[in-house]
């Protein structure tokens, strides 16, 4: 009896290759997620510091110019002039704001990369799904 040969299914090697790519994309995505979490933590910390220093600055504005100000360094209180103290706070605020901007930029970059990896993951999943779908039933 003569019979028509069934369409050739994709080789196991092809499916394996796509699965490997899927795993790589997933791992890359996870790395990006971890980085984003670290940046979020840093940002939270900086925001806390920002609030603290801004409150200190407001307090300084309320003080008269001859007020006594002490700086706590380890176990010792050091006397400071109001001007010195204000300069310290101002420069700290500048540093904090710069760091926040840097983190914001980094966050956006990495978020974009994470999105790309996520899209790749969907792409590979769809490929595997279509390749491993059962072939249509053969007519008798």
């Amino acid at each position: 009896m003569s019979s028509t040969k069934a369409p050739v299914p994709p080789t196991q090697a092809e499916i394996q290759q796509i699965q490997d790519q899927l795993i790589k994309a997933r791992d890359a995505f996870q790395v990006h997620e971890t980085e984003l979490q670290k940046l979020s933590a840093s940002r939270s910390k900086l925001l806390t510091q920002l609030n603290e220093n801004e409150m200190v600055k407001k307090e300084f504005d309320l003080l008269e110019s001859e007020a006594k100000i002490y700086k706590l360094n380890g176990p010792v209180l050091f006397k400071q002039t109001k001007e010195e103290a204000e300069n310290t706070i101002t420069s700290r605020l500048d540093i904090i704001n710069n760091n926040l901007k840097t983190i914001e930029t980094n966050f956006k970059d990495i978020e974009k990369k994470a999105m790309e990896q996520r899209n790749k993951i969907f792409e590979y999943q769809n490929k595997i799904r279509s390749l491993t779908a059962p072939p249509p039933p053969q007519a008798q």
Partner: protein, 132 residues
């Protein structure tokens, strides 16, 4: 996938856990918790040491006739430069000693961890996971 999973399960040895083994496993866990506690403590003391060192440097460059307020528990005492310097030196020395003691405690725990790992991995092989 599922085939690999089944094969994996077969590899896991069915070793019986006796009371002595469980005690060792529990000991490993307790030591691990203690180790992490000590590491946190060490970190805090290192931060204190850093601040104290900064403070010492500031004292060094301050005017000789200055008065300083040194913290004693909850209060601050007014002291002259010389006294402040000697007090902070004592404080720094104490912190350094504390850190050394913590280091030696951590080393002791690491030694015990090694011993326990040798025994437990020898018996249970890859069916046990002793993460630190």
């Amino acid at each position: 996938m599922s085939k690999t999973m089944i094969e994996k399960v077969d590899e896991v040895l069915e070793t019986e856990v006796c009371a002595a083994d469980q005690k060792m496993i529990n000991l490993f866990g307790r030591l691990n918790n203690r180790k992490h506690e000590l590491m946190r403590e060490k970190k805090a003391k290192q931060e204190d040491l850093e601040k104290a060192t900064d403070s010492q440097d500031d004292l060094f460059i301050a005017d000789d006739d200055s008065k300083f307020k040194y913290s004693m528990g909850e209060a601050f005492l007014e002291v002259n430069k010389e006294d402040a310097e000697s007090l902070i030196e004592k404080y720094i020395n104490k912190l350094e000693e504390d850190i050394k003691k913590i280091d030696s405690d951590i080393n002791d725990i690491n030694e015990k961890h090694k011993e326990l790992k040798v025994i437990l991995y020898a018996k249970f092989k890859n069916s046990i996971n002793l993460e630190e």
